[in-house]
Amino acid sequence: MITTTSLYDQFITLYREKETTQDNDWLKDLRETAFEAFSGKGFPTTKLEDWRFTNVSPFLKEDFRLQPGAASLHGLHNAAHIPLLDAYEVVLKNGMLNEDVRIPGVKISPLRTALKNENLQSYFGRYINTEKHSFAALNTALFENGIVIEADKNIICDKPVHITHVYNAEEAVFIQPRILIIAHKSSKIQIVESVVVIGDKPLFINNVTECYVAENAQVDQYNLQIAPSNTHLVNFNQTVQQSNSLFNNYTYSLPDAVFVRNNLHLDLNGTNTESHLYGLYLAGGNQLTDNHTVVNHLFPNCLSNELYKGVLLDNARAVFSGRIYVHQDAQKTNAFQQNNNILLSNKAVVDSKPQLEIFADDVKCSHGSTVGSLNKEALFYLQSRGIGETAARNLLVRAFAFDVTNKIQIPAVREYVEKLITRKMAEAYD
């Protein structure tokens, strides 16, 4: 069947016909507001500053099935197995969790069930600006299900939680997963996310993750974006930190997803917080990897440190836009941001836009961006010791990425990421 209706129209119809009897009143209101925003604005175009370098419209032309539901994808998550990673394993099938997962002190439940609990009202959807962000609005209006991870007060989760997203792309599908992470006071949790895709039809994932880090809590979030070339991923991450909390985000976009757009928004809603945002994108072929980050310093004495590194091969394109916003009250802020890129092909392109807006007068802030190629002297030095050109490049790329890979706190994950970089670099120069 060939549909001539646009994807936008299909979503409008879908919303109007949607059965919402399951939802609480507050959730209905939330969806309605989000829907109004989406229906008013539609999908973003390059006329918007936030989408200036990324034209998403070619990716929305497929005849997607919109709400595919939980597919039977049994056992396939093994493909995302991370060797030697000792973790609590959670598998989401097309964005859905079948049943509760019990971990001491940590509750992992299907989102729809959990949302019946009124307590979640103060977290869910509360900090996302759906007026401004169409994809997040669309997700809020139409998400079917997802997952809630809640770490109880004072709980130090002894092992990482590894979430494997399994997607069935045997037909073209548009999936909207939703994740809510709540780390209550003085808790600590590490979350590792990875992706498995079966089938080779276009897959569009419009994910929203919300993360709430309460007072004195710590959340480490590892997002391993390793998916086949038919994958299009739009990922909106809204994190809120309360006083004395620590948040570490590691976003690693490795081949071969054709399109990845990450929005990482961090609100520092208390004093004495610490945040580290590490990003690595390695892209080849015709991949487009776009990272937009916003760090909002709202209170005094907070530290944020952001380092994003990119390696681009072939015709790959990347966008980095980082914004640090220091509000007037946020005195004694330490905020640092750095984006470095290596282009290994004449056709690769990167648009890098570091931004700093400061309204307080007693702060330490820096931002910077570089684009370059591999150091020829270093390459020659390695070759002069008998190391072949491919291996030498590989060593240098790994060295370049080292500043972000060595920040990974879980050795098994670090090794896994390094192996993937090595493998990609070996393929690239074969």
């Binding site: 020659f380 390695l382 070759q383 002069s384 010791r385 008998g386 190391i387 060593l395 500043d403």
Partner: protein
Amino acid sequence: MLSIKNLQAKVEDKQILKGINLQVNAGEVHAIMGPNGSGKSSLASVLTGRENFEVTGGEVLFDGKDLLEFSPEDRAREGLFLAFQYPIEIPGVSNINFLRTALNEIRAYHNEPPLEAKEFLRLTREKQKLVEFDAKLTNRSLNEGFSGGEKKRNEIFQLAMLNPKLSILDETDSGLDIDALRIVSNGVNKLRSEKNAFIVITHYQRLLEYIVPDFVHVLYDGRIVKSGTKELALELEEKGYDWIKEPVTTASV
């Protein structure tokens, strides 16, 4: 072992080697001296295959093979080694990983299996001791945070590990204090054998008191203008380079 015949090379449009002839046999140490800009380091660069140098004439045979046909890595695998004048720091590449990769790539070239981890470590320890290089190498990036002296000693340590047939030391003495100079020289002397050879590039006779050469050549304006034994180095130290320059400049007009 190495036979250079009428070697000419240029960088961009500047002719810098204008016909070098040099024969190096196994077991020999040759010193190449000469004033700044005479082409000493360029000769090292051409022999090891640095990218921006273009050979415009002549030939170089290394154990009978055409050296200039090989890529830089294959020259190293054939047994050529350059101790850099300015060893580069490479943050993120660990010393140990680098050495293991280099050693195993050279072994693979000669159809030898990779060294086992234990054997590699034993070799590392043995050679570190031999060249008196006690810097901690594990968990440290290549040359990162090394002093000038340590970098030069690391070059000699790599030389010891890779065991090349022909080593070129490019102004290894520059920037070394007298103790480091002695240590580096001792390392080289311990590695000298009937099977290998060295080309020592230096400005000063001082190094040659420690590494005693069999032959001394003076390079000036892209040519070897004088060759002799170690006494030539002493003569140069005494008289400077001017007496060498005179006849060449006149002759070339």
